[in-house]
């Protein structure tokens, strides 16, 4: 029995496959959270809402990682691989961040002694660069074909994707206010550049590539007769277009919040010295 989804050389079937390592990982990221939320003695505002966000994020992580999507992405379809990526970075990561209360975030970063590192990563330029370089690196043919071929590599790739998703969203929805940009135009510009523009580049490569780029998917037993070229074109479209609803939806929501912000009243002009009277 395998503990994590990785490349297998048998034909695809819809017969369920168990990956206990994935279940253990889901437990590791959810049980301590739920216990901490329940045992919290001090103030814990919006606890139920935050818990729902976090649980939804963990469920998105589970769906992206486990059978069937996890196995399809690790072994059969480049398009499933891209769908996984979007789920990790644009669904699971932001939902989990939204679910972490400030007190828990501070405790966690303090215990792990990574507060300063995370604070640096939360700067928009740094976050954008790290997120997009991770994207480019983890989608290069060598990386995909090497890491997906074994369970440890496949595990590493999934976790790197989730972490890069956290980095992407830190400047926008970090639980710690000092890590979040306060100005909506800055947040919108950052999100547009970091998650809307750069990912279109590898997406374009995949869509218009002359040959299948990834040997993992080119030489895999076919999934319902879907040709490798077609699968790769779908993968490119998923990469280019799949994030649009989330990225543009978030930007729209930020725009509306920005418009609703109370504006400072214009400063009245000082009384003129030459005022007649």
């Amino acid at each position: 029995m395998q503990f994590w989804c990785s490349t297998i050389e048998v034909p695809w079937t819809w017969n369920f496959r168990a990956y206990p390592g994935i279940w253990a990982m889901v437990a590791v990221i959810s049980v301590p959270y739920l216990v901490a939320m329940r045992r919290r003695q001090g103030p814990n505002p919006d606890a139920s809402t935050k818990t729902r966000f976090y649980v939804a994020g963990v469920l998105a992580f589970w769906v992206a990682t486990d059978w069937p999507l996890g196995l399809l992405g690790a072994s059969y379809l480049a398009s499933a691989h891209m769908a996984q990526y979007l789920l990790y970075t644009l669904v699971a990561a932001p939902l989990m961040l939204l679910g972490v209360p400030e007190w828990m975030g501070r405790q966690l970063l303090g215990k792990l002694r990574i507060y300063r590192t995370v604070l640096r990563l939360s700067r928009p330029v740094t976050a954008g660069v790290v997120f997009n370089l991770t994207l480019l690196f983890t989608h290069s043919p060598w990386t995909v074909d090497t890491l997906r071929s074994n369970q440890f590599g496949s595990f590493a790739m999934d976790i790197i994707w989730l972490l890069s998703g956290f980095v992407l969203w830190l400047p926008i929805i970090s639980p710690l206010p000092e890590m979040t940009r306060s100005q909506y135009p800055v947040k919108m510009t950052y999100l547009f550049l970091a998650a809307g523009v750069v990912p279109a580049i590898p997406g374009g490569f995949l869509t218009f590539a002359t040959f299948p780029l990834y040997s993992t998917y080119e030489l895999a037993p076919r999934f319902h007769a879907l040709a490798a070229d077609t699968d790769q074109q779908i993968a490119g479209l998923v990469m280019k277009l799949g994030g649009i609803p989330i990225v543009w939806g978030t930007m729209l929501a930020m725009m509306m919040k920005w418009m609703a912000e109370p504006r400072e009243a214009p400063v009245p002009a000082p009384p003129s010295a030459a005022q007649p009277g």
């Binding site: 050389e9 330029v125 790290v130 370089l133 290069s140 040997s215 080119e218 037993p221 070229d229």
Partner: protein, 223 residues
């Protein structure tokens, strides 16, 4: 402050570029496939095609680039991958037109001509399917110098361990390389035009030691 992210960026960018540029398109031998030390002359095999007619491999494919593969229609993995790859590669506009793909079934018990035809039509209607008696198929595999297909497992859903390479016979009737499991489309696209360009009139003149054509010249033309 940006120094460490910038260094990380540079490192990752270099790794990505190296990964993107390296590897798959670099070939060690004359062909992207596995070069045969001694070219294999197209065996003198007569089997039965999916219309029920005798098919003389040498006579029917004389002067044609011919790709021969042993497999069976219930094959769960390698046969569908090879055939799908060939189908996609041969559909490319730069590929030669008159390439004959021959699929020889090693499962005479379950593969009847109609079944083989239906199976091949999933990939390409022009692919030729051949079948024979067990003795004829064994003789054919011996002539191709491959291990005899071995039945694995019991019951109706048994499988076969069988030769996994595609033999590519140039128009002169010789195979200079074979294409095992894992052959990528880029490999086929590099080699097929080169093999196709080997003139048919070289029949009988080619050998490992003295070839009357220049692979390198053809190679450069293609690229």
């Amino acid at each position: 402050m940006l120094r460490s992210p910038a260094m990380l960026a540079a490192g990752l960018a270099c790794a990505t570029l190296l990964a993107a540029c390296g590897g798959s398109d670099e070939f060690e031998g004359e062909f992207a496939g596995v070069d045969l030390a001694i070219p294999l002359e197209k065996p003198d095999v007569v089997l039965t095609d999916t219309s029920g007619n005798p098919y003389d491999l040498r006579a029917e494919t004389e002067g044609l680039l011919t790709l021969v593969y042993f497999g069976y229609t219930n094959c769960p993995d390698i046969c569908p991958i090879h055939l799908a790859q060939l189908s996609q590669v041969l559909d490319r506009p730069t590929m030669p037109d008159n390439v004959e793909v021959i699929f020889i079934s090693v499962d005479p018990e379950r593969d009847d001509p109609e079944g083989i035809r239906r199976f091949l039509d999933n990939y390409e209607t022009s692919f030729v399917g051949l079948i024979g008696t067990q003795a004829e198929l064994d003789a054919a595999q011996i002539m191709f110098d491959v291990p005899l297909a071995q039945r694995e497992g019991d019951g109706a859903d048994y499988t076969f361990g069988h030769a996994g390479q595609v033999f590519a016979f140039a128009p002169d009737g010789f195979a200079y390389s074979v294409y095992p499991q894992g052959t990528r489309q880029t490999h086929w696209v590099k080699d097929l035009p080169v093999l196709h360009a080997i003139p048919a009139e070289n029949v009988g003149n080619s050998s490992a030691a003295g070839r009357s054509w220049d692979l390198r010249a053809d190679d450069e033309e293609v690229e």
